[in-house]
């Protein structure tokens, strides 16, 4: 009975909170800062540099949205969240965007009442093993002990993959990637599993890189993307088109170096003109953005390829699935017209 009342109160609270809020864009503009929920630390995606400034692939997306809505990529308040607290933080309004390598799944999208606005990184769960183990394929991992981060989709994928192949494993539950690295290096588990991006980042940090290998199998689909709350379509549109603008930048060859130049002249490609505010873009006023929104994004943060190269190339992560469709990847964006 008590729990029922509690749940009812919580639900009422959420609905009430949702209904009272004005447009998210107005809130952000009134505050002058974007609140962005990010990872407490994930190599390549979010980490503070030595000066205390957050850097990373996910962080750059927050900066891009701030550039589009406020005109300044630095006007972001970062709130850190763990895998377990990220959705409640978003639901409770502690941030306008959750940009924290979050896998898009049915139940997260539907059941948790939030909107995934697109995919900014296609990932997939892989396995890393010491070469000394003599394993060449994930199918040979029967009976292995596996270091696994709790509260993530990787946990479920692992169980399904092993059950599907009739294999057994001993889970070694861990809380963070840093902890997993230590356990794995100390030999507490035979296998370390997480998203392939995380595996490469981990491998990159090892002193003896040659002694370990990432197995060829990718056992899950992990489309990672930014998330916003249900209920404000204008905001969801803004966030998703910021992502597309960054990809369009790459597709059209607009970089942080040449964007000002391209914005000043009349380009043959009218899509560039529309994106950069030279020609009118039908409906832009409904988003509440100024015509130079995409110029701000690309000049201050860069296009998709630029942020990828800046943060993920150093980890030896290749474009792969994350290339544009014309380069054989999966990123295919709707035309900007």
């Amino acid at each position: 009975m008590k729990t029922k009342i509690l749940l009812a109160a919580a639900t009422a609270g959420v609905m009430f909170a949702g209904s009272v809020l004005a447009s998210t864009l107005d809130d952000v503009r009134a505050r002058g800062k974007l609140n962005c929920i990010i990872n407490t630390g994930l190599v390549g995606f979010a980490a503070p540099d030595d000066k205390g400034k957050w850097q990373g692939f996910d962080v750059d997306f927050c900066r891009a949205v701030a550039a589009a809505t406020l005109g300044d990529a630095d006007k972001v308040n970062y709130t850190t969240a763990t895998g377990k607290t990220r959705f409640t933080k978003l639901a409770a309004g502690e941030g306008e965007i959750l940009s924290r390598n979050t896998t898009w799944t049915f139940s997260r999208d539907v059941d948790l009442s939030q909107t995934f606005i697109g995919v900014n990184y296609y990932d997939g769960q892989g396995f890393m093993v010491p070469k000394a183990l003599g394993v060449k394929s994930a199918k040979e991992l029967d009976g292995a002990s596996v270091c696994i981060q709790t509260g993530t989709t990787t946990e479920l994928n692992l169980a399904e993959y092993f059950a599907g192949n009739g294999m057994k494993y001993n889970p070694v539950p861990i809380e963070t990637n840093a902890e997993a690295q230590e356990l794995y290096k100390a030999g507490r588990c035979d296998v370390y599993t997480t998203d392939a991006s995380g595996l490469f980042a981990t491998l990159y940090s090892f002193d003896n890189k040659a002694d370990h290998m990432v197995l060829p199998e990718v056992v899950s689909k992990e489309p990672l993307g930014p998330v916003v709350r249900h209920g404000d379509d204008q905001w969801a549109d803004i966030v998703s088109w910021v992502l597309r603008a960054m990809m369009a930048g790459e597709e059209k060859g607009i970089t942080s170096k040449n964007v000002k130049e391209l914005a000043a002249k009349d380009n043959k490609d009218k899509e560039i003109n529309r994106l950069l505010g030279k020609d009118p873009l039908q409906g832009l006023s409904k988003l509440g953005l100024s015509p130079d929104w995409a110029v701000n994004v690309i000049s201050q943060v860069g296009n998709y390829a630029e942020t990828f190269e800046k943060h993920l190339y150093p980890l030896t992560i290749q474009r792969g699935m994350n290339a544009l469709y014309k380069d054989g990847g999966l990123h295919y964006i709707p035309p900007i017209k």
């Binding site: 909170a17 850190t80 933080k89």
Partner: protein, 369 residues
């Protein structure tokens, strides 16, 4: 000399046989008393040498104290790469608090010792005046750290982190939980049914729920119950949870102290015609608190270390800052150095607390056991 005669019973003590006293004697007796012992001694020394040599080498001699990244470190030497600490010491101490405003933290921290001194050392000169300062210190520190008035810029809580966060959480938890704990302990012993029941319920609930659950409640649930638009900082929510949690433990420790006082003390107080508050103030609490000091300090040390649990709700205490540093491509993989540094900080603070409690115990010891 030998020819001298002494009266019976006045012969002076002879010196002990040569080779059984002094450094040489001690070594011979304890380390080389037999062949097997001698061998073991030599073996131990050899092992110790390698161990200490390795540790000192890794920690200091082969360590790199400044470099741009882990890779640079490894190029210079193969010991510890302390550059991850030296380059980020500001972050470890202040979190993401803006550089230009860090003096506010420094002042709050230094004056904290002035504020605590009269509370911790009863013999201090001018104690009465200092106590006034202790009274206004919390307000002063809050204004300084939080800002927003008196021309100080407002600092958002998500910039708080590092040791400063630990000290804020730990000290506020400790300071607030002691009085609440005393009231709860008295409440639990009370003859008034309502007060007693409420105290028991509170204590048992708080002790029966893991701290981490309470932190999740603070981080997720409380926001739902607040009216929309109220920005009830997560820091305050977490401090409240820490306070309640440790107050429940303190209450039980103090109850143990109260129950350890001989019954004769109460009867004597009654015989003197003292009322409840006089009895509590002059008879019960002074004795109960004295007995409970080790338990109370134990709880405080526990609370202080428990503050690291806030990493699970995404607050960046030193441990969180350390993990975030490890997530930087430049420093990824230096977890030993980072965790050792954080451990050192916690050890120093907790050891100081423990030493203080020993000092206080000795000072208040009246040997009436």
């Amino acid at each position: 000399m030998s020819s001298k005669t002494y009266k019976p019973g006045s012969y002076p003590d002879l010196p002990p046989p040569a080779g059984t006293v002094g450094v040489y004697g001690w070594i011979k007796m304890n380390l080389f008393s037999s062949i097997s012992n001698s061998l073991l001694t030599i073996l131990s020394f050899v092992l110790l040498y390698y161990l200490i040599d390795g540790i000192i080498g890794w920690f200091f001699l082969d360590a790199v104290f400044d470099a741009d990244s882990k890779i640079e470190c490894r190029k210079i030497n193969d010991g510890a790469c302390w550059a991850v600490i030296t380059r980020r010491v500001g972050q470890f101490v202040y979190g993401f608090y803006p550089d230009a405003e860090r003096w506010r933290i420094d002042i709050s921290f230094l004056t904290m010792f002035i504020a605590f001194a009269p509370l911790l050392y009863p013999d201090l000169p001018k104690r009465k005046w200092l106590l006034w300062f202790s009274g206004i210190y919390p307000i002063m520190a809050f204004i300084l750290i939080n800002g927003g008035i008196l021309g100080l810029s407002k600092i958002e809580y998500n910039l708080f982190g590092g040791f400063m966060l630990t000290v804020i959480l730990g000290v506020s938890g400790i300071v607030c939980s002691l009085p609440i704990g005393i009231l709860l302990a008295l409440g639990r012993q009370s003859k008034l049914t309502v007060v007693r029941t409420l105290s028991v319920c509170f204590i048992e609930f708080m002790r029966g729920v893991p701290l981490i659950t309470l932190l999740f409640v603070a981080s997720s649930m409380l926001n739902y119950f607040m009216p929309p638009g109220t920005n009830f900082s997560i820091l305050v929510r977490v401090i409240i949870m820490f306070t309640f949690f440790s107050a429940a433990y303190i209450a039980e420790v103090i109850r143990g102290g109260i129950q350890a006082i001989p019954k004769g003390q109460y009867e004597a107080a009654d015989a003197l015609g003292m009322n409840y508050w006089q009895k509590t103030r002059f008879i019960t609490l002074p004795q109960a608190l004295k007995i409970s000091i080790p338990g109370i300090v134990n709880t405080f040390i526990g609370l202080y270390k428990d503050t690291t649990l806030v990493v699970v709700i995404g607050l960046l205490d030193p441990l969180g800052i350390g993990r975030a540093a490890l997530a930087d491509t430049k420093w990824n993989g230096l977890s030993t150095e980072t965790y050792l540094f954080v451990a050192l900080f916690f050890f120093v603070s907790c050891f100081a607390m423990s030493r203080y409690s020993l000092w206080l115990e000795n000072k208040l010891n009246t040997d009436n056991k």
